[in-house]
């Protein structure tokens, strides 16, 4: 039975954590499009999958955020990955299943998954 009391435990655990998640200006940003087009196309599970994956792998310098319409509605769900010092990579037609690969290959190993990007889509 869930209760507000459990939040007290969460607070205690969070206070004891040495590796607190800091929002660094120089960290990696993952931006998920969440306008009407994105939501209708299925962006909510993609966003939640990124949050879970980043958390599971303890990537404390990665920030997952939402944005409005990116302007290419027919390609939603769209996810933009900004790695400092590099060009932004735009993933299109994202699904929950593709998230693990993007996190493992691009975010951790710095190899963008080109077949998911907008470049491959518009051929």
């Amino acid at each position: 039975m869930k209760s507000l009391a459990e939040l007290q435990e969460i607070r205690n655990r969070a206070l004891n954590q040495v590796n607190l998640r800091k929002e660094r200006a120089d960290g990696i940003r993952v931006v998920v499009g969440m306008a009407t087009c994105g939501i209708a196309a299925g962006a909510r599970p993609v966003l939640n999958a990124f949050v879970r994956e980043v958390e599971a792998r303890n990537l404390t310098d990665v920030m997952v955020t939402q944005t409005g319409c990116i302007g290419m509605c027919r390609l939603e769900p769209i996810v933009e990955v900004y790695v400092p010092g590099q060009e932004k990579v735009t993933y299109v037609h994202m699904t929950e299943d593709k998230v693990a690969r993007v996190v493992a290959e691009h975010i951790i190993n710095n190899r963008p998954v080109t077949e998911y990007t907008v470049g491959s889509e518009t051929k």
């Binding site: 869930k2 459990e6 969460i10 607070r11 209708a40 909510r44 966003l47």
Partner: protein
């Protein structure tokens, strides 16, 4: 949209953009009256009378990337398909209120869907805004109030992953209890 919870997410995001500090979402299922009512109220910047008159038109939007804003239109269409309607009231500088009704048992009424997911996405994306989600079914109710959560959490942000997970479980359990 496949579920009403996605419409709610969409419209509540408008409230976030309107810089609201408190967003109240209520879902009321009244089986005797065969009525499903969804309300999204905020204390954001509101709209002028002129903009309010044409806000349901998809070609009226505050977006700058496109000249089309479909959130309200899609929600209204979904309601009208089920014998209901969408009403929007707003006062500039005070806030906006969107009320949508559906015939509960209408064959075309989409399921309410994953409200836990919607609340997780809203609170995770705007952890400094207060949300009250109230779900009423035939007289019994369930409430999620971020203000109460903050009392316990202190300065631990609401978008801490453990908190987001807790919100998901709490909402799912609460709604299951009502059913």
């Amino acid at each position: 949209m496949k579920e009403l919870s996605l419409h709610i997410l969409d419209i509540a995001e408008n409230s976030v953009k309107a810089k609201a500090s408190l967003i109240e979402i209520s879902v009321c299922e009244d089986c005797k009256k065969n009525l499903l009512t969804i309300c999204i109220n905020d204390n954001g910047c509101g709209m002028s009378e002129d903009f309010l008159k044409k806000v349901k038109d998809p070609f009226s939007t505050t977006r700058t990337t496109r000249r089309v804003g479909m959130g309200l239109s899609l929600f209204e269409a979904a309601a009208e398909q089920c014998g209901g309607r969408l009403e929007i009231l707003s006062t500039q500088g005070v806030g906006t209120s969107v009320t949508v009704t559906f015939q509960q048992n209408h064959i075309d009424r989409a399921p309410l869907g994953d409200m836990a997911g919607t609340m997780q996405t809203l609170i995770g994306g705007a952890p400094d805004i207060d949300f009250i989600y109230r779900h009423i079914k035939d007289g019994r109710d369930f409430v999620l109030d971020t203000r109460a959560m903050r009392e316990t959490l202190g300065d631990i942000p609401l978008n801490t992953p453990d908190v987001i997970l807790w919100i998901g479980d709490y909402v799912n359990e609460g709604i299951n209890e009502l059913n």
